[in-house]
């Protein structure tokens, strides 16, 4: 038989859960608005990415068949001894399985490469991935955390600088980037993509047009290829940020729904308990009166 204490406990719990629902609802709204802004950023960088791909596809057509030794170092395939992954995650959690899935996907890529190479290192972007790889004890080349929700190209380009320099010095032979691709507001997909050595984009109408090059195609490639690597990393970061906000939005909506459901169940229990308490009090009174009258 529930006493007044039990009834109060249920009421306190209802209040706590509905406060939680208020918080998660607010977080959902914040994430939704940040998601739109992050998507917008990704969209704004797209014309540059598209034109860069088109130009590079055309330009690399002019170096096909060149002596491999004269090929731009960023295009040269080498035996992979030193493998690295740029691992992009969120700085914060409360985003459902987003970070866990990303960590798992990156870890399986790393474990797959590990037996075949001398060294595997990680360049984490985002605290969640950094903590994960730090715990698993992989060497960390450099870490980038607190880039914010809307990083600009100047925040991200230093990442490219590091891997390009290491690659040219021969300290790295192959570099992947790992990030959550934004498919739509409800779906994010972990993507693992090689960025070094550069794989020239497809669709080359190679040598279709008779270009004038100023300076030579090789020199133009030398300026363009690093930009291409920078752009790909920037693109990955923007996608990852949009994914983060959308995953958080969905997770918070689910939390809000769960909390609302819990409140309605608690309300039922509460009413039932209160009713039982009243009934038992009535019975006491009735019993007491009956005893007096007897």
């Amino acid at each position: 038989m529930p006493g007044a204490g039990a009834v109060r406990a249920i009421r306190d719990r209802m209040r706590a859960v509905s406060n939680t629902a208020k918080v998660t609802r607010a977080m959902e709204l914040v994430a939704a608005s940040k998601m739109r802004r992050a998507q917008d950023r990704a969209l704004q960088s797209r014309p540059y990415a598209e034109r860069m791909r088109a130009v590079l596809a055309q330009l690399s057509g002019y170096t096909v068949g060149a002596d491999p030794d004269e090929l731009n170092p960023l295009l040269q395939q080498r035996t992979v001894k030193h493998f690295a992954i740029i691992h992009i995650t969120a700085d914060r959690g409360l985003a459902g399985g987003l970070n866990t899935n990303m960590n798992r996907a990156a870890a399986s890529l790393v474990l797959e490469h590990q037996p075949n190479v001398e060294s595997v290192s990680v360049l984490p972007v985002g605290r969640k991935g950094r903590d994960f790889f730090r715990r698993s004890g992989f060497p960390i080349i450099a870490e980038f955390t607190n880039l914010g929700d809307f990083p600009s190209s100047t925040d991200v380009f230093p990442i490219a600088r590091i891997v390009i320099d290491d690659y040219i010095r021969g300290e790295l032979d192959q570099v992947y980037v790992a990030y959550q691709q934004f498919v739509n507001a409800a779906v994010q997909r972990p993507v693992l993509r090689q960025i070094l050595p550069v794989q020239a984009p497809e669709g080359a109408e190679a040598r279709g047009t008779d270009f004038i090059f100023e300076p030579s195609p090789a020199q133009l490639l030398e300026t363009l290829l690093p930009r291409y690597v920078e752009m790909q990393i920037y693109e990955a970061v923007l996608e990852a940020r949009a994914s983060e906000q959308s995953a958080r939005m969905v997770a918070m909506r689910q939390a809000t729904d769960a909390a609302d459901e819990m409140v309605s169940e608690l309300t039922l229990t509460y009413n039932k308990a209160r009713q039982e308490m009243i009934t038992s009090e009535l019975l006491d009174i009735v019993g007491g009166t009956a005893a007096l009258n007897a």
Partner: protein, 146 residues
């Protein structure tokens, strides 16, 4: 037939026009002027001033390196950074000019390892271009378009 032009950076589209009559571009090999029916060209850009001539007048921009391609009257500029004249903060550009001049001439102390002469020279070049573009805008008074 006028040229179509888009100037894009990694962060945004800076300018998009389809009525360009003439285009003055700073390439690493020197300043060139592009007119409609130009032969296909790929060139790298230096830090400099770019002037886009459209029917309502010239649009000056500061370009900080990058790449240009022209094919069939379609011009793509992939700029490392690009600014319209009215986006340039004159006071800030002037401060940057003074700072980098000071560093080059040894008047302003150079923080150990943080800044070298090459960087100061590049920064000086950028601030000079910004000032020139900014002042051209105030001289002609032609509205720029984004």
């Amino acid at each position: 037939m006028p040229l179509t032009l888009s100037i894009v950076t990694a962060d945004r589209t800076v300018l998009e026009r389809d009525d360009v009559l003439r285009l003055v571009v700073p390439t690493t090999e020197g300043q060139i002027t592009l007119l409609p029916s130009h032969a296909p060209l790929m060139a790298s850009l230096s830090i400099g001033e770019m002037i886009v001539h459209v029917p309502d007048g010239p649009i000056p921009l500061a370009i900080h390196g990058g790449f240009i391609q022209i094919v069939r009257d379609d011009v793509s500029v992939l700029a490392d950074a690009a600014e319209h004249a009215d986006e340039i903060d004159e006071a800030r550009a002037e401060a940057a000019r003074e700072r980098s001049r000071g560093r080059i001439e040894g008047r302003v102390p150079v923080e150990a390892g943080a800044v070298d002469i090459l960087r100061a020279q590049l920064s000086l070049q950028r601030s000079l271009i910004r000032l020139r573009v900014r002042r051209r805008r105030s001289a002609t008074g032609v509205p720029t378009m984004r």
